[in-house]
């Protein structure tokens, strides 16, 4: 087990470093001179040349990459053009808000899924069951940002129930958490449902019932535990996606998280901040995958042997 | 069983060895080797059926695979025909193989006709496309299936039927040698018998040589003219089917054959020889005679302990008359009464 963890850890670090390379490549793939873009259409040639010099853009690519990589290793992404503060700390300071939102959303997702899932599992009649599943699929297919807008419309404009955006008290979490989490709630609910159905029908459950075990015990002792594995698997992945989805939702709700920072930075051409944000996203995602893989390997020993 | 029908060898295997490297998980360094096959030599002549028996893991399947190129040859040589080395399309017509598992040996997405005609499709010179349907129908008949089967898919066939299709596919390219790797192991008894019957008939009709690999000794007895017995990568005994199976010499062969269920056990009383002792791993085979750790004879004679001849010296193959050879230090004394039987139950 330890060797597996070590392998995965080394692998994760390697992936992050490679991700840094990718970030550099993509940023430099921007056609045209960033200095030009930064200064706007009215800049003179001299001004452009000066800024190019200052930003080190006229050096060979390898040198630029070297400086960038070296900077990253020291956790230095340069300074934000908008705020004139170091980019990485700026990005990290916003992670908290995003993480809180993701956390609340995930909690909601799990609660909803474990309530709705078992309910759905017990629906009599195939037609009705199909209907509910299809309805869930439709809800899942709705674009999150659109649902966000709808929530704003209904809950704020028409009902005035929750604050219109930004992060304040607990009630301000509600809309963004729903908008962020509802597709995952649907996925998880369906998973819980199908896992339960499969387990409930299986032979050893029927044996337990035949032995006279009361229904609720059958449910908790046997069914839940066995359906936990695929749920955990998908759940781990979903948490990462949840965090990523924040980029869009935070913009809709003016939530002071890292996603909003990223979008703003893109629109303001604040390259250092863009790089720092993408880097943080990658680190978080890799870390989450690592944890999920290890948790899964802990539960299912076969994974440790094969190594992937 | 008829005499071997031709003196020309269809296959010559000399000192074949197959080693699989074992690698460390992290750095992929080679730490040891699995010695699947060590120093195996034999020939098969035209139209001859050679049976290869042994328990699971003895390397008999690996021998079959090495012969047709599906397993790497680490040492030694495999030669087809009288000295010509088979490569590429030549090999297609020299050796073909039928596999053990009927459920994974046919492409589930193709119809039987396309499966059987695959050899012709890959090697265009063998049969013109216009004659494929006729050819397939003929092949189906010769393996005992109705020609209507050609439009079906594997999912619609039973295990026995699938094996027949697999055989038809292999003989479509007219190989000289057909390797049957545990072809009856996955089938039930009655189907097994029919398949063996069909194989015998096919052999007459097509002049095929077989390498019949099986752990089912009675099937081998029925079909083979010569028999090779393998244990842990070595051939421990060889000879004609009558020599090896009616008068087994090597202690391992004797144990193996004593386990065959008999129809009327009260008529020919015989003690069941049980093998005790650890089953060695091919990665780390015992020194001396590879069988000595489980050999009832060595235990009886006291030669299995450290320093005993069975534990230190590899036994040479000893001639026993006719084509019968046995790789045991005590082969020539095996006929003596006090040497028969073993520890019994």
């Amino acid at each position: 087990m330890t060797s597996y963890i070590l392998r995965r850890l080394v692998f994760s670090v390697f992936v992050i470093l490679a991700a840094v390379v990718v970030i550099f490549i993509v940023m430099r793939a921007v056609p045209g001179n960033p200095a030009e873009v930064l200064l706007g259409p009215n800049a003179t040639k001299a001004q452009i040349a000066a800024l190019t010099q200052r930003l080190g853009l006229n050096q060979p690519e390898i040198v630029q990459f070297g400086k960038f990589f070296w900077g990253v290793l020291q956790l230095n992404f340069g300074s934000s053009i908008q705020f004139s503060t170091p980019a990485l700390p700026l990005a990290t300071s916003r992670v908290g808000a995003s993480a809180e939102l993701a956390g609340v959303s995930m909690a909601g997702v799990v609660v909803v899924a474990f309530i709705v899932g078992p309910l759905l599992a017990r629906i009599p009649g195939r037609r009705i069951d199909r209907g509910f599943t299809s309805a869930l699929m439709f809800i899942q297919a709705l674009p999150p940002f659109w649902v966000g807008l709808l929530l704003l419309l209904v809950l704020v404009d028409h009902l005035g129930v929750v604050p219109p955006g930004g992060k304040s008290g607990f009630s301000s979490f509600i809309m963004p958490a729903i908008a962020l989490g509802f597709p995952f709630a649907c996925v998880l609910a369906r998973l819980v449902r199908s896992g339960l159905i499969e387990v409930m029908d299986s032979a050893y459950i029927q044996t337990a019932r035949a032995k006279g075990m009361p229904e609720w015990r059958v449910f908790w002792k046997h069914s839940i535990r066995n359906m936990l594995l695929p749920v955990l698997t998908v759940g781990g992945v979903q948490l990462g996606l949840l965090f990523a989805g924040a980029a869009v939702i935070e913009t809709v709700f003016n939530w002071p998280g890292i996603g909003q920072l990223l979008i703003n930075a893109i629109n303001e051409r604040d390259y250092s901040v863009v790089e720092a944000c993408v880097f943080i996203f990658a680190c978080a995602f890799v870390a989450l995958n690592f944890i999920t893989d290890v948790a899964y390997a802990y539960i299912d020993p076969r994974i440790r042997v094969s190594g992937r | 069983m008829s005499e071997p029908s031709g003196a020309r060898p269809v296959l010559t295997v000399s000192d074949l060895a197959v080693f699989y490297p074992v690698r460390s998980p992290l750095l992929q360094r080679v730490t040891s080797y699995v010695q699947a096959v060590v120093g195996v030599s034999f020939t098969i002549n035209v139209g001859e059926t050679v049976g290869l028996v042994g328990e699971s893991g003895c390397g008999k399947s690996t021998v079959g695979r090495a012969i047709c190129g599906l397993a790497p040859v680490s040492r030694g040589a495999v030669t087809y025909g009288a000295g010509t080395r088979g490569h590429g399309s030549d090999r297609v017509q020299q050796v073909q193989m039928v596999f053990q598992d009927p459920y994974s040996s046919l492409n589930p997405g193709l119809r039987v006709r396309d499966i059987i005609a695959e050899g012709w499709s890959i090697n265009p010179g063998l049969r013109p496309r216009a004659q494929w349907d006729d050819g397939v129908a003929e092949l189906l008949r010769s393996v005992g299936l109705r020609s209507e089967v050609m439009t079906r898919r594997p999912a619609q066939l039973s295990g026995g039927e699938r094996q027949r299709v697999a055989i038809a596919r292999s003989i479509a390219v007219r190989p000289e040698l057909l390797i049957c790797d545990e072809v009856t192991s996955a089938l039930d008894v009655s189907v097994k018998a029919q398949l063996l019957q069909m194989l015998a008939r096919l052999r007459e009709e097509a002049g095929l040589a077989y390498l019949f690999i099986s752990h089912d000794t009675s099937a081998v007895r029925r079909l083979a003219q010569r028999v090779l017995v393998m244990y842990l990568g070595n051939i421990v005994e060889s000879g004609t089917a009558a020599e090896v199976m009616d008068h087994p010499n090597h202690p391992y062969t004797r144990a193996l054959l004593s386990a065959i269920p008999r129809l009327r056990p009260w008529e020919t009383p015989r003690e069941r020889i049980e093998l005790r002792g650890e089953v060695p791993s091919p990665r780390d085979p015992p020194a001396g005679c590879r069988f000595h750790t489980r050999c009832w004879l060595a235990r009886q004679l006291g030669t299995a302990g450290p320093g005993g001849i069975c534990a230190t010296v590899e036994p040479p193959g000893k001639e026993l008359g006719g084509s019968h050879r046995s790789a045991c230090h005590f082969a020539d004394q095996a006929a003596a009464p006090h040497m028969t039987g073993g520890e019994g139950k």
Binding site: R126, R127, P143, L150, G236 | S89, R91, F99, N123
Partner: protein
């Protein structure tokens, strides 16, 4: 994420209790998708109002107004026209991105699985690096870097999608290449391309097409998200995303501008999911 995670996610959904009444759902979904395609191709010929004709007097008319079945937006453009245009863009981008990523991913995955060792190591490391980024963030990043255009969005979304197909192709290749019938083909003289093409690819196509339907849904929603955020298509292209974005400021007065494209989008995505779902159930 490890391959087991992927496999279990793929296999999920339908327990072996065999529901065979899926047919109706599948047919309905397919018909709807076909309608979308037809509307996208032929729609422009039938609408009376040209795509970008603005009519300030008629702005923000609700659905049901005479001559404007679905209302008008803030510039007086007919919503029907907007929706049709959005359909064209979404379908084009969706189909193009999936076609590219499916082809490239499958080739890479099959090769990696079949040839193993170095090829596998190299290609899969590449995939792993890319998987360090959540897809949507990657799409946003690439799209922002390249600039706003249909081509750039297709590139960004293809890049974000190919990995999953490569993973599936590789898994299928690994599990199929050692099957007995593949060995039999080899014995019969089949070369590499024939083996991959006739024996490995056909089995791989099933999970690949199923996932393609799922990924299609992701792609078109992603495109809408990108356009909504301003990093996707330029505002002049009436993608569903840009239309929703346009309507953001008029939510209380003219909800239909933002609402309708969202429903259209969701309907298309759910129909594709149903199709994929049904394909998944069919041969298991």
């Amino acid at each position: 994420m490890s391959d087991v995670t992927l496999q279990s996610a793929l296999l999920e959904e339908h327990p072996a209790s065999g529901r065979r009444r899926v047919r109706v759902r599948f047919v309905v979904a397919s018909v709807i998708v076909a309608l979308y395609v037809l509307v996208a191709i032929f729609g422009p010929f039938f609408t009376h109002f040209s795509m970008n004709r603005t009519d300030i007097v008629d702005r923000l008319m609700p659905p049901g107004t005479a001559g404007h079945l679905l209302g008008t937006d803030e510039l007086g453009r007919d919503m029907v026209g907007e929706m049709i245009q959005g359909a064209r863009i979404s379908l084009t981008i969706g189909i193009a991105s999936i076609a590219i990523s499916l082809t490239a991913g499958t080739i890479v995955g099959l090769a990696a699985g079949y040839f193993g060792s170095l090829t596998d190591g190299l290609l899969m490391r590449l995939a792993d690096v890319q998987l360090a980024f959540p897809s949507i963030v990657l799409a946003i990043f690439i799209s922002a870097a390249l600039g706003s255009s249909v081509l750039n969005v297709v590139i960004a979304l293809s890049l974000a999608s190919w990995v999953i197909f490569a993973r599936i192709g590789r898994a299928e290749s690994l599990s199929t290449k050692n099957r007995a019938y593949v060995e039999a083909s080899r014995l019969l003289g089949a070369g590499t391309s024939r083996i991959i093409g006739r024996s490995i690819l056909p089995t791989a196509l099933r999970p690949l097409t199923i996932y393609a339907t799922v990924q299609f849904g992701f792609v078109i929603v992603a495109e809408a998200s990108l356009s909504f955020l301003g990093v996707g298509l330029p505002a002049s292209d009436a993608s569903w995303g840009t239309t929703i974005s346009d309507g953001e400021n008029y939510l209380s007065q003219a909800w239909w501008v933002s609402a309708l494209p969202g429903i259209a989008l969701a309907l298309l995505v759910v129909c594709m999911s149903i199709i994929g779902d049904d394909l998944n159930e069919r041969r298991s």
